[in-house]
Symmetry: C2
Subunit: 215 residues, 2 copies
């Protein structure tokens, strides 16, 4: 049975990128195998949580041996759909868009930025980190020709839904949405929201409750 | 019994910023009351989910009347600890830090940036969006004097843990961590991670499984 035939809960999936990161660091440090205890200690989770999560992938953990670091890393990459890489476009080249273009760790995980779009006269035509900013009018032709599967939305929220519909109609399958609005997509299109204000509000709640708990 | 005396599950808490956003938009549009059905339709969740979540705050939903929009908005703000505002510092004024300084929606939710820090000669002394970038050597004095409670970390991951320990020692209570590493904090300090590469990996997984489901 191949790894991808198994049903894995979304809770486990959400934790996989973290395993992936630790395993990469271990492999880079020359570690070839690691026990669930040692990995758990590094990651600040219990060995039993590790075993439970990683049992989903069978074959990489052996009694008295531990996990094969490269093997498990590769299996997790396969589960996450990273093996073939992803082509992404950045839609919105303002401050946030520019920060994302400069973000090296996307590329390292197989997410290659192939196009950058904006509508501003000040930005279109400009070169940003090796990418010439194209006008949004060109996005449909570009997507049909170059087939990126992911669009990163870093545009004003008022434009978000129109742009989303346009991108879906030419074949985008996934959105990383930084706009502070919920975008509307059909069932076969995926969205991950990054709502930074929401993160700060959750942090605010946790600080308040931690401080109240101390009183 | 005051709202804050009740135990509210973290799952509900995680959903509160979204309610908060929709209620603000409704209030801005002049809506004074709304039924759980109408709010659910707007938010694409069931009315029963809404009632279940918002029952935690009692008194704002009345049979045949619906929710008092401003009242509920204010109660959620109180739960989230937003009423007194938060002072935040941005540590790391590179591309991402600059994007965050320019992010208007933090201020709108009561998160005020009061200081920006870096170590780069090219940045220290420069004015960014009304903030003069200070050298990291000044951060301890600044925090002790101005008492920000939140630090946003947008620095290289190799510096993350040292900087974190320094900031904790002078009184920072919460971190919004963009560094691609888990920072170590004691129990009374809170961290919300924003690991953008992890978000892309989760999106990759979902795209893969959605496309496989269609075959």
């Amino acid at each position: 049975m191949s790894v991808s035939d198994k049903k894995i809960s979304f809770e486990v999936i959400k934790r996989l990128p973290r395993y992936y990161r630790y395993l990469r660091d271990l492999a880079d440090a020359g570690v070839t195998k690691i026990s669930s205890q040692a990995l758990g200690k590094k990651m600040n989770v219990t060995a039993s949580q590790i075993r439970q999560d990683l049992n989903c992938f069978g074959g990489f953990g052996q009694q008295g041996y531990g996990y094969n670091v490269e093997g498990l890393y590769s299996a997790i990459g396969e589960i996450l759909g990273l093996h073939n890489g992803h082509k992404i476009i950045i839609v919105g080249a303002g401050h946030l868009g520019q920060a994302l273009i400069n973000f090296r760790s996307f590329e390292r995980r197989g997410f290659t930025i192939i196009g950058v779009f904006d509508v501003s006269k000040d930005l279109v035509g400009k070169e940003l980190c090796g990418h010439k900013v194209l006008h949004m009018d060109e996005v449909e032709d570009f997507v049909k020709k170059n087939k990126p599967d992911i669009a990163v939305l870093s545009i004003p929220k008022t434009a978000a839904n129109d742009v989303t519909q346009k991108l879906i109609s030419c074949g985008i399958k996934g959105f990383m949405n930084f706009c502070y609005i919920d975008i509307e997509v059909p069932d076969d299109v995926c969205v991950e929201n990054v709502h930074l204000s929401d993160t700060l509000m959750t942090l605010s709640y946790r600080i308040k409750n931690t401080q109240e708990g101390k009183k």
